[in-house]
Symmetry: C2
Subunit: 421 residues, 2 copies
């Protein structure tokens, strides 16, 4: 039997035990993992040092090395993350709905864990601990597959996690790391429909697209964010400026940062030049359509490709439009259904935008940067879903659960004609 | 451009219009489709006659011919189905949750349509109308791909549906039939991630498995039902007997019919023989493990394959077990997570079963036959999901929707340190 199937079978078996644990039992396990990480910090940092050294030797970029690197502070963040999870309510067991039929048959819809979650992720070793914490809190077993560049770190972390579980009611087999560096091991995970209930990819667009394309197991897609802000003719100049500056410069490398600003022509004539100058002063590389350029000659020309770019950087493209309709059509064509905003003092225009734009999060007079599980008050975040099935937008703990129907009768049998089944 | 992509693009475009229609506008369209079917009944029946004749010529089985055949009564059922949908509440626009942050930013979670639903289905032409009704009621555009054996019927029905839409606010392009008989046209539908939001397969296990395997678009899997009933040592003889007879014989060809009965040894010794005799009298082909056979010699031997068979017929297999644990383990190994029941007067045993068994619907002292959208009171049913993402068990109208977050601010920008994004 392959490594992947063997570990998936153990995870599946343990998921049945996990599903019936109390919140207290799961919290104790999280706490025990946190203590284990503290106790074995040196070992984890040593293993990480091996990965970092290998990364330097093989010419990994500075950005990737930074993601790979673990420090005392980053280990403390992991521990803090687990402690936060302990404080959060456990969604499992929640009765979502209940009703009784006329014949007395009682039906309850109850939250249950998903079962086995397969995580496929890149460089950052903190995902190993963060994802395991989220999974265990919601009663799920974890099958983890990190990147080979973080192999020593992940192996050490999973050892430390499993060591922590030894003293608890959560079975050690609830957490597994796939150690094979073969690409085929990912392929195998993605097709284990009998053992894995959901695959969550975390990483760059290439990884996510590969998983979406190859997986027959249902996927929770956390996709790219080509986010837009539309400045309407009725937008206040200062508000529009503050929102655009915040949405671009607060943290340009994340998915909820704005990438393209659409500007109504009448607002553009009055205020666009000073907005562009301000952005340039803040170090933003500004690109624009010919109408934008005619208002501010220092703006570089935006090509067709710009409208489909997730810059993840201090770059912002501008397009002047003649109407709400044109703005919505541009977003429909180039957006990734992540986060889209309008700035306007006209309520009707705002409501039309909010209704017509199809995205996980739509904003009126606010920065797109709020698309975040913590900002939403979820206390934890698995990622931001850009698909429409199961969960959309920021995902918290309830999004790692399913439900089942529990029916209690007293000898109830079904009579009469068939309806659907 | 291929037929599939062209039609998917038109559907996608129309889905933006559909999403903002009122319930009244959508109901009017459903009513207009119903009238169009009544008006063009002869044309539909004529087209269907061509398919049936072709089916007879090519040696289609009697069961398949029956599914293919349309009659006045079946057309009336379609019309009645549409009229039922008009009466049902429209889930779109429902505010699922709403809250306000301390800084005054308001967040609303609102139900929205999925967008474009791709249906891949077999013989029954009624799916063409039923699925379209469900999809339009929930504001979704439909891309339909029926089987080639029903090609004339489906073409006529979609023509009649689109004709009905002409007089309404629902765009005609909201409903398309893929006419190509090439298998590659299905393949193409399953990978149109930019245009199709969800694929729903309806048909036999082979079709569903193919779709699950090949689709990169998210799938709503409506799977097979290998359902079990466990008769505990504390089960009343008559109740157990009534439930098993109902769950097997009421409608053996459907997914919620029971396929295997697990019997506690002490109940078996007292009552199993008479249950087996009763089932034989009712025309059920009874198979069993050696312990079952030793109690009733007329029982055929069940092979290992029997435990993994969805008979969909008047066949039932029996296995004697020594404990709840053994019953749960058997279900875990052989069940399809559809519907599983226990018969017992012992509350504790019942609760342990309900909690430990992982299935869409778990039953105490009731027939598994209740797993049905209409029996659940949903008023409509898309199918019964056996996956855990998005929806599980019977799916009604709300399961054809997603949600989006609508955020309303007054110049809100994000400050302070980054959390997750």
């Amino acid at each position: 039997m392959s490594e992947v199937r063997e570990k998936a079978e153990l995870a599946k078996k343990s998921s049945a035990q996990l599903a019936v644990l109390t919140t207290e039992q799961k919290n104790e396990a999280l706490s025990s993992i946190a203590r284990s990480i503290e106790r074995h910090a040196d070992r984890v940092l040593e293993a990480n040092e091996q990965d970092v050294q290998k990364g330097i030797d093989s010419g990994l970029s500075k950005a990737l090395l930074d993601r790979l690197q673990l420090t005392d502070a980053r280990l403390k963040d992991m521990v803090k993350g687990l402690e936060t999870l302990i404080e959060l309510p456990d969604p499992v067991g929640e009765v979502l709905e209940s009703w009784e039929r006329d014949d007395g048959l009682k039906i309850e819809k109850v939250r249950v864990p998903l079962g086995v979650i397969g995580m496929v992720y890149e460089a950052r070793p903190n995902v190993t601990v963060d994802a395991t914490g989220l999974g265990l809190k919601t009663g799920n077993a974890m099958l983890l597959r990190g990147s080979s560049s973080a192999r020593h770190s992940n192996t050490a972390l999973v050892d430390v996690i499993r060591h922590g579980l030894e003293e608890t009611d959560v079975p050690v087999d609830a957490v597994h790391l796939v150690e094979s560096a073969e690409r085929s091991s990912v392929q195998e995970m993605l097709t284990l429909n009998d053992l894995v209930d959901v695959i969550i990819p975390r990483g760059g667009a290439a990884l996510i697209q590969r998983v979406v394309r190859e997986s027959s197991v249902p996927v929770l897609e956390t996709g790219a964010g080509i986010c837009h802000i539309y400045i309407d003719c009725d937008a206040r100049a200062e508000m529009a400026q503050d929102i655009v500056v915040n949405a671009k410069t607060d943290r340009p490398a994340v998915c909820n940062a704005v990438e393209t600003v659409l500007v109504h022509t009448s607002w553009a004539e009055r205020h666009l030049r000073s907005l562009l100058e301000l952005l340039r002063e803040r170090g933003v590389d500004v690109r624009g359509c010919p109408r934008t350029q005619s208002l501010a000659p220092f703006v570089k020309q935006a090509t067709e490709e710009d409208w489909d770019m997730e810059y993840l950087d201090m770059v912002l493209s501008f397009k002047v439009v003649d109407s709400l309709r044109e703005a919505v059509a541009h977003i429909h064509q180039h957006g990734t259904r992540h986060s889209e905003g309008i700035v306007t003092d006209n309520r009707e225009t705002a409501e039309a935008f909010l209704q017509q734009v199809d995205a996980a999060c739509v904003y009126h007079n606010a920065s797109t940067r709020f698309t975040d599980g913590f900002e939403f008050g979820f206390g934890a975040e698995i990622g931001i879903s850009t698909q429409k099935l199961h969960a959309r937008g920021p995902m918290g703990l309830p999004q790692l659960t399913s439900y089942k129907y529990v029916l209690r009768g007293d000898g109830h049998i079904r009579g009469g004609g068939p309806t659907s089944c």
